[in-house]
Amino acid sequence: MNGAARRIARILAPVLVGILVLAAWEAVVRIEGIPRYILPGPILVAETLWTEGPSLLGSLLVTLRITAAALAAAAILGGAIAILFARSRLLELSLFPYAVILQVTPIISIAPLIIIYVQNTFLALLLCAWIVSFFPIVSNTTLGLNSADRNLLALFRLYGASRWQVLRHLRLPTALPYFLAGLRISGGLSLIGVVVAEFTASTGGTETGLASRLIEASYRLEIPRLFAALVLLSLTGIAIYWALSLLSWLLLRRWHESALPETE
């Protein structure tokens, strides 16, 4: 396959598979006469998405706002913690195990506590999402900060560079691709964190996120709406991943191997 054909195939092939699966789904639902409160067909889901769109979109914005805030907090605090770790081995040795513990404890089991202790719902959800998403950034960035080329470090020493200069001009640029890889993982995780926390909090009212709407729909057996919310959530996850990949590419495209074409 030549370049152009491969590019087309890369888009066309998954789209075709998607269409086939959707068609099969629709066919099964119609032929078997499956009721809509058990399994709606994709056409019905699309219709629901269209009619319920505006109200779901409001919830989507709520979820998105918390996700973005949690991701920003994970990036800033995670990056800062990594810099502290890289600066002081003692600090890393004493705190890293706790970061791991926080990471491996299922968020679903901490979320109820957080929701009890933190009164403000926005903050409680934010905290849950932050807990699941900060770790990849911390561990990746720490690795990156410690991966600076030994000879370049020697060169900086030869020129009498201060610790700040070594950080600013050598360690941070070295760590950037690692940080961005961590950020891409954290993007998906913080969305999951928000969804889990919303499930646990299951707040009522109008200012609710997409996950609350999903749960609400499941209680009321409004399965088409549940599917519509699900589709929106998936699309959001994809969009976050895509946006972070784009950011990574923009920042690295001029020098890093990951952002370069394999052949030029």
């Binding site: 370049l152 020697a154 060169l155 020129y159 050598l170 020098w255």
Partner: protein, 275 residues
Amino acid sequence: MSAAAEALRSASVATAAPLLRLAGVGKTYRRGVAALGGVDLDIAAGGFVTLLGPSGCGKSTLLRIIAGLTEPSAGERRWAGGAAAPRRGEIGFVFQEPTLMPWATVEGNIYLPLRLAGLSRAEAAPRITEAIAAVGLEGFARAYPRELSGGMRMRVSIARALVTRPRLLLLDEPFAALDEITRLKLNEDLLRLWESEGWTVVFVTHSVFESVFLSQRIVVMTPRPGRVAAELSIDLPYPRETALRMTAEYGAWCRTVSERLAAAMAPHASGTAAG
């Protein structure tokens, strides 16, 4: 050659005033690898000295000790007449690999030493341009290292070492990975710069031909743990150009140096033969 460099050169030849003296310098790495076993060496100001020895004999280690990047585990390194150690920027170091920052352009890489010294980009610009011209990389200031050939990357590394106008230039097999043609050309470029800038150069290589072509003095080292096996003063006149490689004197020196190297590599080399 500038007047100052000329004065420095003739002074160094006349009195051989050492810039740096190594006395009994030894290095044993962790896990007990003895890299250097007691090196005595004077580096004359303004001179061109080559460390010649087999792979793994401790040449890079010695160069790092001279630069102050590694501490010797025995012996000491003293600056001339108890003079103060060079200030930052007075030593230029070219590593065995180009050791460039992949995220910075050619310009940015060469700017680094000046940036670390607190110069603004505008203040540094003329010197960066000068260093780029010195290594013949005009037109590539904005290129990234990945867009350069191996030889060009090495030249960027050399330009970065030159940009602070160092007194002492340490080069660790800078041309080892290059093809013969590029290598010969860069040899001549380096000599031209040395003659015009008045540096003291310590050059590491395992090529006999390269060492004879470049050096005033060749220090032949024994296999690990490295010691000085022989010192030879190469009396071929400067400036040295391509034509020199065809002369009988050059050939004779290459033979002599090869013999000394072979003797140093022999299992029972005493390691004390004089030059």
